[in-house]
């Protein structure tokens, strides 16, 4: 996988934006700012998916994550009332330091493993970026999804149905308990 200089610059820029967004989620004093940092992270990742020639998934990322999920989070925040002191929602002192140390160790392990990757071995498929540009990403992904992976696809729709029923049940139980 060779990248042109323009691609490299864009990758670094979007990567920096994604990391900044993720950091602002965990460092923001107010949960609404966390939700907006999450939005920045999702949009940067969508741009990155498009550059990795996964156009459909990039657009789906924008619609599902940056659209629906962020709006749901903001909706829940507004329902609950986001105006609470920030210090309430954070560990401090020794426990926070221990958690951060654990995460740094984890990151160091992953980085070590990635650096040790030798070559670019592995079974090379036939779906090169040129093929994707020629046939279209949606067509290729749709054919794979509906021919090869039809059972997981149907199971995902059952899962979403269960999700809808569950959300309705949660809302209904709440209304009944309020009436009592």
């Amino acid at each position: 996988m060779t990248a042109t200089p323009l691609e490299t610059v864009l990758f670094i820029a979007f990567g920096a934006v994604a990391i900044a967004g993720a950091l602002s989620v965990i460092l923001a004093r107010h949960a609404v700012y966390s939700a907006l940092g999450m939005l920045v992270n999702f949009v940067a990742l969508a741009a990155m998916y498009i550059m990795l020639s996964a156009e459909f998934l990039g657009i789906a990322q924008l619609i599902v994550y940056a659209g629906a999920i962020v709006v749901l989070f903001l909706f829940a925040l507004m329902l609950i009332g986001g105006r609470r002191p920030a210090e309430q929602g954070r560990l401090t002192g020794g426990l926070a330091a221990a958690g951060s140390a654990l995460v740094v160790v984890f990151l160091a392990e992953i980085a070590y493993l990635v650096m040790r990757l030798t070559g670019t071995a592995g079974a090379k498929g036939t779906v090169t970026p040129d093929v994707i540009a020629q046939l279209g990403h949606i067509q290729l992904l749709g054919a794979t999804l509906l021919l090869e992976y039809i059972l997981p696809f149907e199971l995902a729709s059952v899962l979403l149905l269960v999700g809808i029923v569950g959300a309705v049940m949660l809302a209904r139980a709440r209304r009944q308990s309020r009436q009592e």
Binding site: A60, V64, L102, V114
Partner: protein, 100 residues
């Protein structure tokens, strides 16, 4: 060093930030956001390796992760709002009792 390593490191960094958030923050909604960040980091790994191996199989996983994340957010936020109605707090340490 080729681009795939940078992408894998980037997604490891994003995953670590999400994990740190889950460990450090105590607000249930922020913990939930950090879980979404970790899911997205894994999606980036799948798409980068899908491009590297020139196969679309990894992108099917991303599709499934997106469907699961959508269902998870709808249910999870419903549960958090239900808990809030029952006991007005979003701090996970305040709801640590089974029958609390």
């Amino acid at each position: 060093m080729d681009a795939i390593r940078y992408l894998l490191i980037l997604s490891a960094v994003l995953f670590s930030i999400g994990a740190a958030g889950v460990l450090i923050r105590r607000n249930a909604l922020v913990i939930f956001m950090c879980i979404e960040i970790m899911l997205n980091a894994v999606n980036l790994t799948f798409i980068a390796l899908s491009r590297q191996l020139q196969s679309l199989d990894g992108q099917i996983f991303v599709f499934m992760v997106m469907a699961v994340a959508a269902a998870e957010v709808a249910i999870g936020l419903g549960i958090i709002v239900s808990i809030f109605r029952h006991k007005p707090t979003t701090d996970v340490d305040d709801v640590s009792l089974l029958k609390g």
